[in-house]
């Protein structure tokens, strides 16, 4: 019985808490607070935040696989067998864990078989992560759902707003340079892959960021996803000053012509057109753009309404829950509480700001060569962050002119930004992946 009590005590969180875990729990509570009290992207930040809490429960091993759970026990016999399977020596559990992650697939399989034979199992969040994120499925399915929820009418009515969505992607590539430049600061060592994954935060598009990070830099996934969703939630705070800096009161007051009616057939053809261009010019963007166009075609074609309805509701909700928990499982202290995370947060803010500025400047340029007046504010919506950025544009526009409803005009660049960042992600996958 003393044994039992001792086992139970050794098992408790108090006896095993590390400072890192405690700090991570506080950070995750912070995310939950922002989501619940401040309504910051609650669908993702509630699920990511809670996943982070679960992942940082000491001694529960929910985000570890069978081998990592076996290593965690630090039982010398167990460690010896695993080291044997990996064909390495071992001096500490950290070194063994590192060796496990760097070994070949067949060595890893051998280690897993040994861990299973000894009764160790994958943690629940690890399983969720494997099925939902490592496979790439969850962000793609979410993207399909976003496609099914997006009306491209405004973009088709005024296709030139695509240039605004293109310009705003400069935030991505500027951040890429920034991330590489950070390597001059001691303590940072971002590879080209890492830098690309970080840069995509500037795309202001959650599923794209998670998908790219899961392909290029899974270690940084947690920090990147948190940064992406946090800044998307902060759009109403980040964007207005930048928008005002680059425009005059007069420009912000410009009223735009009403958009023409877009026919059903145009809306059906649009996703197919985007898909063909993707197939012809940028196959590496096919997973993202393909699923997005599929969702949009289901929405617009009018003959599969039941599929479209389920995609926009039950399916996207289910996948969101597991995507959030899975991303949260990557918020472990050893990965998140690193200098890199601070760098990522700083770079993310830069990315959003540059993207916003480029969008606005491009809109000014476009306004000069266009017959119809263009309010430069709508360029800010080019970063995507649908539909928050468009709403911010509308609000800032109303401040300058009480009769100026820019919401519909901002929807064009807003959804253009989604396509733009998917294209940028495709380029990065093709060249860096």
């Amino acid at each position: 019985m003393m044994d039992g009590l001792l086992t139970l005590w050794r098992d408790t969180g108090i006896a095993n808490f590390t400072w890192g875990q405690a700090i991570m729990l506080v950070i995750c509570f912070g995310l939950l607070y922002l989501a619940i009290a401040k309504n910051f992207e609650p669908l993702l930040l509630v699920t990511i935040g809670f996943g982070g809490l679960l992942a940082n429960i000491p001694n529960a091993g929910l985000s570890l696989d069978a081998v990592e759970n076996a290593i965690r026990t630090a039982n010398p016999e167990v460690l010896k067998l695993i080291a044997n399977a990996l064909a390495t020596d071992w001096s500490s559990t950290e070194i063994l864990a590192k060796a496990y992650h760097n070994s070949t697939e067949s060595q890893q399989l051998a280690a897993i078989q040994i861990a299973r034979d000894m009764g160790f199992e994958n943690g629940m969040l690890y399983n969720f992560y494997t099925v939902a994120v490592a496979s790439g499925a969850a962000p793609l399915i979410i993207f399909m759902g976003v496609g099914a929820m997006t009306d491209f009418g405004a973009l088709i009515a005024n296709p030139r707003t695509l240039f605004l969505g293109a310009a705003a992607q400069f935030g991505i590539f500027a951040t890429l340079i920034g991330a590489l430049a950070l390597n001059w600061v001691p303590g940072f060592e971002f590879s080209l892959q890492d830098a690309s994954a970080i840069a995509i935060i500037g795309g202001a598009d959650g599923p794209t960021a998670i998908f790219l990070a899961s392909r290029l830099s899974p270690e940084l996934l947690g920090a990147i996803a948190v940064a992406a969703y946090s800044y998307m939630a902060l759009v109403p705070i980040i964007q207005p000053p930048i928008m005002k800096l680059f425009t005059t009161e007069q420009e912000r007051a410009i009223e735009m012509q009403q958009l023409r009616h877009v026919s059903r057939l145009e809306k059906i053809v649009f996703p197919l057109l985007v898909l063909i261009l993707c197939a012809v010019f940028l196959p590496s963007a096919a997973p993202l753009i393909g699923m997005f166009c599929f969702g949009n075609l289901m929405r617009e074609c009018g003959v599969v309404e039941r599929l479209s309805h389920t995609t926009q509701n039950a399916l996207i909700n289910i996948v969101t829950i597991f995507l959030g928990l899975s991303v949260g499982s990557k918020l472990s202290a050893d990965k998140f509480l690193a200098l890199e995370t601070l760098g990522i947060l700083a770079l993310g803010a830069v990315a959003f700001s540059i993207g916003t500025a480029c969008g606005v400047l491009m809109a000014k340029l476009l306004g000069k060569i266009s017959k119809h007046p263009i309010n430069p504010l709508i360029g800010a919506a080019g970063v995507s962050a649908v539909p928050m950025a468009a709403r911010v544009v509308n609000k800032v526009g109303l401040q300058a002119n009480h009769h100026n409803f820019l919401l519909m005009h901002a929807m064009g660049p807003n959804v253009a930004g989604v396509i733009g960042s998917a294209v940028a992600a495709g380029v990065l996958l093709a060249l860096v992946g």
Binding site: I172, I177, V269, F281
Partner: protein, 77 residues
């Protein structure tokens, strides 16, 4: 340093691709819109009539109910 150069080349190629891709897309959207609106124009009137029919029915129901509410309230006073 080499990385930075690579990054710069990535930026040029990347922004180039994004702009080219979206420019071609702009062109094809305009083209397809023109073709569609010339050869398969949406019969807006027909569409809206059938839609209006449905809606006007609903409008009438709404009207009936709101009238009923109105009369009921006036009577109450």
């Amino acid at each position: 340093m080499t990385n930075l150069v690579e990054g710069l080349s990535l930026m040029v190629i990347g922004m180039g691709t994004v702009f080219s891709f979206l420019s071609v897309l702009v062109f094809f959207i305009m083209l397809s819109s023109k073709i569609i609106n010339r050869f398969w124009p949406e019969n807006l009137v027909a569409n809206e009539t059938s839609k209006n029919n449905r809606e006007s029915n609903q409008d009438e129901i709404v009207a009936v109910i709101s009238t009923a509410v109105h009369r009921y309230r006036n009577k109450k006073q």
